[in-house]
Symmetry: D2
Subunit: 338 residues, 4 copies
């Protein structure tokens, strides 16, 4: 950590500040004098230093971290890729490509079983479906809730596909005990109380990136879960909010190779929410595979025009089959020739 | 609601779609034929129509709302300003200017009582202080929690100032029973489960704008609380995330007059979090008062350099006294001469 | 075009407004009455209607375009892909993949010839190099200017590669007469006087997307050039400015398939400027190819650490050779198997 | 300037790099060794060091400036406010409040003279009006150009008000010889060739902030003009582009006090373009005055509904008179009581 002091800093202030740093954080402090300002460099483990606290000091002009503020999620301290085992045959992060597919909302047994069978046939290895739905409007359909979870389990039984579904409150964790992957939605990425509770479980967590979260903040949210003892975190890039409004969000495709470099955690991409348009799902999915994503999460609905939520971005099972063929052909080419 | 259909729409599709709209939503449907496309106009109460559902239809090119999607928060249906009564002598939205002041985090009885006395003397009418603290890092100080709430109550007893403090989980609501205003932080603005629970109380809620929430989304979050039966919502503009990183956030000052026009709810401004720099608190507070804010929420700490969180943006009691004098002089001038 | 009127509109105002629309723009006007507002629909060619003029009318609440505001760049009126011929053997938009490669700045004959030879050997078909350099600081190296153009031509002679280089002022057009592709930089995307002058030439123009331009604004800038009579426009996505600052810009990969759908113009991707980091060039280039880009523009420098500008994002010729092999392998797989 | 080196840096690389820094930039280099990385601190005048060049070095992990990259615009080297003299009676930056008012576009002698007389009567001290108009669409009205400049001069003669109008190309500078203040529009803020040419004149320049320019980039553009010898730069905050689309842009009100702190140059605010809505002009103007702006630039049109551009944000002369009264009352209160 590097600290630039204000030109007005007195010698006494400097000495008091330096002593405090040494005592409080057990770091060594180096100092050099520039033309306009004095600079301090802290040597030691600075992860636990609150950068805002330092920045608050009267005599401090600015602070810069040299080390990343996350440890457990950091590739520096865990060079090998993490592999998150979902079932005996499905793992994420092992070099394979997993597609999670299914409807935005679970609507009925008939619907979810039909979609599950269809997406399995097309190569999906995990079934997605929303039971608890975060909706901007209190007047919009909020999901089938507990009943939706039961329907997902029926679809799992019928197809053998593990299931991933979103949690919206720590008070629901018991309900999710039998879910294979618990999803944390973008709007809850910094719901720290929820993250802490999930850290106490040993469930795989699919952590979506917040609508305007930096990559560092996102990794810090993974760190929350891991700090609680649960290392089974899968990151999901799903588009960020920018000024461009042709698409619902802007897919930050660079997040895939960046996360791979900074962290050992696997990362999947959600082209459906990133774009909000079904005709963009294929090209964005292809891009994600080409730059190394560990998986995709794609909305598939057997009747998008009557979907109770987010239909605009859903594929039909037939469309998904076509997209899936292309995705796996690309993955195959990437593995063998590229 | 106006719906533009794709040029490829067949007559049969059009008729099926129109019937569905009439049956499902009890609206009238007008149609006209353009050169390239057919346009439908829905007449009636369209608030409950899920715009994404419409957008999902195969034959739909785009949709546009004419009416706002919020009702209870909408000034159109409630022309008079809402006045939120906090105590017998303190109300927000009645034309007066209320300053909520206090430390980012409650740290000790001594600290919070001292700050409370100081800010009261300088004109603050409400004491703020964080007990549960949302922090980006799991390794940072997370607040004194329940103990912090108790210390706030002691400070209230000592000064008579009502207290506002942040809630982070619906499971804590009971702990907040004796708090005067419950704050929902920016990161929880779309924690819908929390909003629903707060809607069941009758507590005044200070609803901070999310880091990248549109004004409409923010008003929809207010609508969540109001839809549950709690009309006591105070909005708080605290800066949004933009590409500019000189300040921590970018204060969207226009949100004040916009909210005043779209909604009857009162709005206060948080210049401390919007800027992240103590020297910007005064000019931003002045701006907020000049364009009609109902109040301000300002961080004051008796020892900012040793604050356990967010010290960089805190004022000392002496600085706050100076800022406060200017703010009230401006408010006085606005009321009498401008 | 759809116009929503304010509830307060009188009958007389409505009639005057309607007459004006018919007379001034030669359109038909349809009207229907909603619950809260009256809506007008204009039928005919609305491209020349100034939407801001309509929006300015006292009685207008909001306006929405149904047709896109661009004509010549619009795929609706030109369904086939445009192919921009650069030389007898190099065309962009014909299904092939062209890589433009070279240094950010031309520095010397030795440098540019060496890089040109190297990138040609690795498969590049066009040589890029900056002679006039837009720099944020007046104190930074501004390029070799006219001399740089001469050096580029020498490199062209030595290798046969056509050259692309950036223009910064309409007053330099004569100097660029012998350049194969004239580049308009992101900061000049809305330098309309420059666009107009380039519209009078018949040179291929590489039009970079502005730092915060919407896709529609970008296509409107292409329209400026085309409206002047020059249809040889190649679009270049180079990242947009967002709140995320790990990368210099955020590559909006979705722009590739979106531009392909909205327009017939070819589109290339600049992974070097989009990321600002050389290690991100490969994964972003792969993503671009996987979603259908017509080409890439990549910075290659024979000595990045001594580059006079933008070295951080440059590849060495050796690195470029490796990236290029992967890119062409992917393109080959896309064409044959995927 | 502080440079963090990669852990992999060898001793030889370090020595070579250090020598280069000393030789090339005439700075002293301090070094200290952290746990994971070595850090260098450069002492001396680092303004001319190209930060991207440093960042490009193989051994460099990251770089941080301690000094601002602008000199002539920097308050550190010029503590007193700059006062830009426009006429014998009008100066900007001297503590007075100047309102520049007038139509977006000059349309006719009758119009511009009428508006000029009206705004003068209401207290405006400078007449604004567009002759060359930057428009997104090539099919939209582009201004009366040279003829518009002549009409502005007539209005000046009739009222005595100095005039400010926008330049769009360096090739037009001669035409602007008799203009009092030359405006550089947001889209040309980084048209460096234009800035350089304006630096050779001695005209007051109104430099609008780019749509997504940081405050530092904006000050660097001022530096371009000043580096050429022209110190008469007035900055104009006119809103930035964000995700929020209720307003056309987001007024970054904090830019006023920030510019005041970083620079000695005066700053004015454009509430008309910042919001795009006439009803927001008053509250935003009040905010700007309350936090210390040196002036305002406001669109006034005698017939906004028939304005040839940007009518939606224009005030009528009557509305302007009301707004102006409030603005001056506030300014008076600020000077005397607040």
């Amino acid at each position: 950590m590097i600290i630039v002091l204000k030109p007005s800093t007195t010698n006494e202030q400097l000495m008091n500040f330096t002593s405090m740093l040494k005592d409080k954080y057990n770091v060594k402090v180096n100092k050099w004098d520039g033309v306009q300002s004095t600079v301090l460099g802290l040597i030691g483990d600075t992860t636990s230093i609150d950068i805002e606290y330092i920045d608050a000091q009267d005599i401090v002009e600015s602070v810069k971290r040299v080390q990343e503020p996350y440890k457990k999620a950091n590739r520096k301290f865990h060079p090998d890729n993490s592999v998150i085992k979902i079932t005996d045959t499905v793992s994420i992060g092992d070099g394979s490509l997993n597609i999670m597919a299914g409807p935005c909302s679970v609507e009925s047994e008939e619907q979810i079983v039909a979609v599950a069978k269809a997406v399995k046939k097309s190569g999906a290895t995990i079934l997605r479906g929303g039971a608890f739905k975060p909706r901007t409007s209190p007047y919009a359909f909020q999901g089938l809730k507990a009943e939706g979870l039961e329907l997902l389990k029926i679809a799992r039984q019928e197809t053998g596909l593990p299931i991933v579904t979103e949690i919206m409150s720590a008070s629901h964790i018991e309900l999710f005990e039998d879910v294979d992957i618990i999803q944390v939605g973008a709007r809850n990425m910094q719901n720290f109380e929820l993250l802490k509770e999930l850290g106490k479980t040993n469930k795989p967590i699919l952590l979506k990136r917040g609508l305007c979260a930096t990559i560092e903040e996102w990794l810090m949210s993974a760190e929350y879960i891991m700090a609680g003892g649960n290392d089974n975190v899968i990151l999901c890039e799903r588009g960020i909010r920018t000024y461009e409004n042709f698409t619902r969000n802007t897919l930050d495709i660079a997040a895939v190779p960046i996360v791979k470099r900074l962290s050992h955690l696997p990362i999947v991409v959600d082209p459906s929410h990133a774009s909000g348009k079904s005709w963009l799902v294929e090209p964005l999915a292809m891009s994600a595979v080409a730059c190394g994503a560990d998986g995709l999460i794609i909305e598939v609905h057997n009747d998008p025009a009557h979907a109770l939520s987010d239909g605009a971005q859903s594929l039909t099972p037939e469309q998904f089959d076509g997209v899936s063929k292309k995705i796996f052909a690309l993955k195959n080419a990437m593995d063998n020739q590229v």
